[in-house]
């Protein structure tokens, strides 16, 4: 696939799993470009915002790289944006974890997970494979989850959880002592709390469909 067919930009900030996301996109045949260049971001067919670690560090990096506005502008074009794990958390307005505001692409906050729920303790981080339930009516689930069965196990590792302001934005949940938002979506902006790039074929399927969605949104025929 060459660049004329459109490329996927992987936002290169401080997070450590950028390489995993890049490798997963390459595995599904995408022209993936790890970049912190605003023009290259804007020219992409779709962007993936990866991330692990602390939200303030991620937001600080995005601010330092002058990428906050380009990402917001990109989202306004209607082209697909996928935030993964911390990359999902920075889509929201703010995080308890840090002082810096998020990207505000999806209304809501990010909250620290408590080590005990109703007197039952749980280990933090929420780390490992957990089953995901899609709770939106079928026709409203973003197409990148077409063919993902109910209760598919995906790999999670996080200590903070997203609390969308509107329940309509919650696409899928998982249970870890409490119900946790596993997939969020508002129009063309999608976030997964789990790591598709670490979730074997079921995860790669999501990237494959994200690439297809991005190319078709850009009017490019997928190969």
């Amino acid at each position: 696939m060459n660049s004329e067919n459109g490329y996927i930009a992987v936002v290169n900030h401080t997070a450590a799993n950028i390489h995993s996301v890049d490798k997963a996109l390459q595995k599904v045949g995408a022209d993936a470009r790890v970049t912190a260049d605003a023009a290259e971001l804007m020219g992409a067919a779709g962007i993936v915002l990866p991330g692990v670690g602390a939200s303030d560090a991620a937001m600080r990096a995005l601010m330092r790289l002058d990428l906050v506005n380009p990402i917001k502008e990109f989202a306004l074009t209607g082209k697909p944006v996928l935030g993964v794990c911390l990359g999902m958390q920075v889509l929201f307005d703010s995080s308890e974890e840090g002082q810096l505001p998020g990207l505000s692409l999806i209304p809501g906050i990010v909250r620290e997970m408590q080590p005990s729920v109703d007197g039952v303790s749980r280990k933090i981080p929420h780390m490992g494979w957990n089953a995901v339930q899609f709770i939106r009516p079928g026709n409203e689930v973003p197409q990148i989850f077409d063919g993902t069965p109910q209760d598919t196990h995906f790999y999670f590792v996080h200590s903070y959880e997203c609390i969308p302001a509107s329940e309509d934005d919650v696409v899928a949940v998982t249970n870890y002592g409490s119900t946790i938002c596993a997939v969020v979506a508002r129009d063309n902006v999608i976030g997964t709390q789990f790591h598709p790039e670490k979730s074997q074929d079921r995860g790669l399927d999501i990237y494959r469909r994200f690439v297809d969605l991005s190319l078709s949104a850009s009017g490019v025929k997928a190969n």
């Binding site: 670690g53 933090i124 981080p125 780390m127 490992g128 089953a131 196990h153 790999y155 200590s159 670490k198």
Partner: protein, 272 residues
């Protein structure tokens, strides 16, 4: 419901998978990328690579191994062995590791855990602890040092179990997580390679002492041992090498065994 993880461990010496008994008598078990792909197809939940290469100039081999595996295998990869600095952690993460385990260097300089955790997040810093039961006869300190009792009954060792430290294993696990480790990889040096089962009392003591996931390691000889570690030992995950490397059991068999006994595990799905 969060499932318990089964994690094959690949000990790597100069780019090849090896596994010995109590860290000696190494036998060649093959190419790391080949073995990693086999485990990926079989439904391993994660993989751990431990570099046991003695000479530091052969360490670049490990970066190659991690790069090759992470391009083909899409499950979490933890890499450890010889990690001594934040730069070492960064190098492995950039090669494609998701988590990096730190052992001796953290004992020598615990701040390393805090530094690496602040830089990359707690979720990718694993504290590897090699623990040994205190002998009934009492602990003999290194020459010139005062013997310090290990109150929990298990002491931390470094250098493949050869060098005792002044650290109590349970206290060290607590301190390590307070400093920012997001997971504990706990190896019983008494049981490692013996195939008699994990040290369940040790695993339970550590699992109850910390609020991060604990991976039990050392001693798996059959599937019942995996089950014991998760039930009686309260481990969140089990590490095993020889029972999988030599084909005694497949990961899928292990999962079926655990599922029959009501341990939540991720169901096996064929991978392309």
């Amino acid at each position: 419901m969060l499932t318990r993880r089964i994690i094959p461990c690949l000990d790597i010496d100069q780019g090849r998978v090896v596994k010995g008994t109590s860290f000696v008598n190494l036998r060649d078990a093959g190419d790391p990328a080949e073995l990693a792909e086999r485990y990926n197809r079989e439904g391993a939940d994660e993989l751990v690579f431990l570099d046991i290469t003695a000479s530091s100039d052969a360490r670049d081999t490990m970066v190659d191994v991690v790069q090759r595996v992470s391009s083909q295998v899409f499950i979490p990869l933890t890499v450890g062995g010889g990690i001594r600095s934040v730069e070492d952690v960064r190098r492995m993460l950039e090669a494609g590791a998701d988590k990096v385990s730190i052992n001796s260097a953290a004992v020598e300089r615990p701040e390393l855990i805090a530094e690496a955790s602040a830089e990359f997040g707690a979720q990718c810093i694993v504290l590897a602890i090699d623990a040994k039961r205190e002998p009934d006869s009492g602990f003999v300190a290194l020459e010139g040092e005062e013997p310090v009792p290990a109150e929990s009954g298990w002491r931390v060792y470094t250098h493949g179990g050869r060098r005792p430290t002044a650290l109590d294993a349970v206290k060290w696990a607590k301190l390590g997580t307070e400093l920012g480790a997001g997971e504990i990889l706990l190896t019983s040096m008494d049981e490692d390679g013996q195939k008699n089962g994990y040290d369940l009392a040790l695993t339970r003591a550590i699992s109850r002492a910390v609020n991060v996931p604990v991976i039990a390691s050392g001693g798996a000889g059959n599937l019942e041992h995996l089950h014991d570690a998760m039930s009686e030992g309260e481990a969140d995950a089990v590490l095993a090498a020889t029972i999988f490397h030599y084909g005694e059991y497949t990961i899928a068999e292990a999962k079926a065994y655990l599922a029959e006994r009501n341990v939540p595990v991720r169901p096996f799905e064929p991978q392309t």
